[in-house]
């Protein structure tokens, strides 16, 4: 059931990504709308997979790594659709949709039965921790995509001879603005995730800090993104370096996954 929904979602994503790529060519812009709707259809199927997983296990589907990837992919694509509907930025389809596709694919192909946490731990603090971490990470994924787009756009503008890339990408201002907005949402959510994670660890392991990639990488990512946000808001420090740091922060956040396999 879950696999069926997810397969449909992934097929739609693949089609949507392909259409978006074609739509970036001159005189094919009208395909952008279709690509958006195909991705939206995939997103609904993805939702079906998330719900089916929840129903079949009878709990919030965030107790194992594949479940986390499944939900993260769904939220990431949902945020892409939100950005697309509100700001008409279609270029995200070539960053966020492949990301959601990859996350969904790993979840689909995960070998064997994943080790889920004992049900006794899946309450209260843990739910807050996983939910806010997942949402925060999805927001950071949007910031990452916008940083990537920003860098591409900046490079194309500097090179002064890339009209095709320029036409497909949003304006510098909008990628910068939406990336900033995504960080404004993502950072507090990540903060809650990191703090509740520590508290939960204290509850389960009697230690606030247990170390290991599961705790180290999120804290590092949180620190890096905190620096980005601080320098943006307080020092007005935007541009390329800010974009590079955001990408770095997102990469650190993804590395957390390494810790979740154990």
């Amino acid at each position: 059931m879950v696999a069926g929904f997810l397969a449909v979602a992934l097929a739609s994503y693949a089609a949507g990504i392909g259409l978006s790529a074609v739509a970036s060519a001159p005189r094919r812009e009208h395909l952008q709308g279709i690509a958006g709707w195909v991705l939206a259809a995939g997103w609904l199927a993805h939702l079906g997979a998330v719900v089916a997983q929840g129903v079949s296990t009878g709990r919030l589907p965030l107790a194992s790594l594949p479940e986390y990837l499944l939900v993260l992919g769904w939220v990431v694509l949902g945020l892409h659709l939100l950005v697309w509907f509100r700001s008409r930025i279609a270029a995200g389809a070539l960053v966020l949709a492949p990301l959601a596709f990859a996350l969904g694919l790993v979840a689909l192909l995960w070998p064997g039965r994943p080790a889920a946490l004992p049900p006794a731990q899946l309450r209260g603090l843990f739910l807050v921790h996983t939910t806010s971490s997942t949402l925060g990470m999805a927001c950071v994924a949007v910031a990452f995509a916008m940083s990537l787009i920003y860098l591409l756009q900046d490079r194309a503008l500097k090179a002064r001879n890339r009209p095709r890339i320029l036409r497909f990408l949003p304006s510098l201002d909008s990628s910068d603005r939406i990336g900033h907005l995504a960080l404004l949402w993502g950072f507090p959510l990540l903060t809650v995730g990191v703090v509740t994670g520590g508290l939960w660890s204290a509850e389960v392991h009697n230690r606030f800090w247990v170390g290991g990639p599961k705790q180290t990488f999120p804290v590092l990512a949180w620190g890096v993104l905190g620096i980005v946000l601080y320098s943006r808001i307080v020092q007005g420090f935007t541009g390329r370096r800010s974009a590079y740091l955001t990408i770095f922060g997102f990469a650190l956040g993804l590395l957390t996954v390494l810790g979740m396999t154990t």
């Binding site: 001159p26 005189r27 756009q153 503008l157 500097k158 002064r160 001879n161 890339r162 009209p163 095709r164 320029l166 036409r167 990408l169 949003p170 304006s171 510098l172 201002d173 909008s174 020092q235 007005g236 420090f237 935007t238 541009g239 390329r240």
Partner: protein, 446 residues
């Protein structure tokens, strides 16, 4: 024959074009020097941001194109070898075709842009005023400009024309998204600056500030565009506020240096700055583009940046090219007919001279003829000459239309031992033999 030498944005880098560009005030002087060149009878100099071209009128068979190139090299100090590598030369119909393409905006950086037609017209008027455009160019240019206008209209090139101003607006939107409320600083008060400022204002840009070395010029431009004039010394302060800077001064040295912009960027907390440099030579130091969040577009860069309407415009350009080909023979005839006239006249003179001599000999032999006999003999000679002339004349005119006149002309002159024409004007005005039989046959009567 029309001869053209020059270079444009495609053939030469901006750095080279900058060195060749003629300041407006220097053009009359350059024209005077041009027409002193051997065989150059008339000339027009077209110097815009994207091209420098010298169009000259000269007799065929002279190495005039090379002399024009040497002239450009002398005027600019650019080595002739560089000009040979980055320039182009056209003669005859090819020169005419090129000039028409330029006039239609087909050779422009922004395909079909309308400004070039006005610039070409102005270049021609300057040449007329300076006395460098003589009867040939004065005949050719108005027709050429009219043909270009018609072609632009018929193909729709003018409707979709994408000016450099449009390109600047499109780029500004790629940086800022929305231009509403964005502050614009204009440095210089040239026509290009005005057009760009108008375009930006039409898209919602606000707070237009105009600075020019001559304050009154800034004041005038500000008045026309609804902005505020700023003293030149105050411009750096406005650099801190502006989102878009348009420069179009005639200054020989850059007016915006890296250090200035760097300083301004610190004060603006790294908000992006878009600089459109429409001046040739450039107003903005090349290295300014290296600064973060600063995007400098000079004329070359504006070219590469816009392709949205280009596809449609290309179709229009293709049909314009076809129309130009259709237009060429008619325009070419204006001067080709004039070129062939001396040969035809010389040929006619030669044959009538032979006729006259033979008639004299006949009179000598036969003694005085009665008026009726005299007329009959004269008519006979005239009819034979005209019949004999008919095909060669048609042949020559045909060759002129095909552009293969030169060899044929030489052949005719050799065969009939024709003198070299002194001047077209003179020979054309004195037909030896009247065209209507019996009415003015003085050539034979004497």
């Amino acid at each position: 024959m029309l001869v053209l030498a020059g270079l444009n944005h495609r053939s030469a880098p901006l750095a080279l074009r900058e060195r060749l560009a003629f300041p407006e005030a220097a053009i009359p002087g350059a024209l005077a020097r041009l027409v002193r060149i051997e065989s150059v009878e008339e000339a027009v100099v077209l110097s815009t941001c994207n091209r420098v071209e010298v169009v000259a009128w000269a007799p065929a068979g002279q190495p005039v194109a090379a002399r024009l190139r040497a002239f450009l090299s002398e005027e600019s100090g650019v080595p002739a070898a560089d000009l040979a590598r980055h320039g182009y030369e056209f003669e005859g119909l090819a020169a005419l075709r090129h000039t028409l393409q330029v006039a239609c905006g087909l050779d422009s950086m922004v395909l079909g842009e309308p400004q070039i037609l006005g610039q070409l017209r102005r270049a021609y008027l300057v040449a007329v005023e300076a006395g460098a455009a003589g009867p040939n160019l004065r005949r050719l240019f108005p027709r050429l400009l009219a043909a270009a206008r018609r072609i632009r209209r018929e193909t729709g090139l003018s409707r979709r024309a994408l000016s450099v101003g449009h390109a600047a607006v499109a780029l500004a939107r790629k940086i800022f998204g929305d231009l509403r409320g964005r502050a614009v600083l204009v440095l210089g008060s040239g026509k290009m600056a005005e057009l760009a400022a108008r375009q930006l204002a039409a898209h919602g840009a606000a707070g237009l500030a105009v600075a020019s070395r001559t304050y009154s010029h800034a004041l005038e431009l500000a008045e026309r565009t609804g902005g505020t004039a700023v003293a030149w010394e105050e411009a750096p302060a406005f650099l801190r506020k502006a989102d878009v800077v348009v420069t179009a001064t005639g200054a020989p040295e850059p007016v915006l240096r890296k250090s200035d912009v760097q300083q301004a960027m610190r004060a603006r907390r790294n908000r992006p700055l878009f600089i459109v440099d429409m001046a040739v030579p450039r107003d903005v130091e090349e290295s300014v583009n290296e600064l973060e969040r600063v995007y400098v577009y000079d004329m070359d860069a504006l070219h590469g940046a816009v392709d949205s309407e280009l596809e449609k415009q290309r179709h229009a350009a293709e049909s314009a090219l076809r129309l130009i080909e259709a237009e060429l023979p008619a325009l070419g005839r204006i001067w080709q007919a004039r070129e062939v006239v001396p040969t035809i006249v010389a040929l006619r003179d030669r044959l009538h001279e032979v006729g006259r001599k033979e008639l004299d000999r006949l009179r000598h032999k036969l003694g005085p003829l009665s008026p009726r006999q005299e007329e009959a003999v004269r008519e006979l000679a005239y009819a034979i000459i005209q019949k004999v002339l008919h095909r060669p004349v048609r042949h020559l005119k045909g060759a002129a239309a095909n552009g293969s006149l030169e060899d044929l002309e030489r052949l005719y002159r050799e065969i009939f031992d024709l003198p070299r024409a002194a001047s077209e004007e003179g020979t054309e005005a004195s037909p030896v033999c009247g065209r209507t039989r019996g009415v003015s046959g003085e050539g034979l009567a004497r």
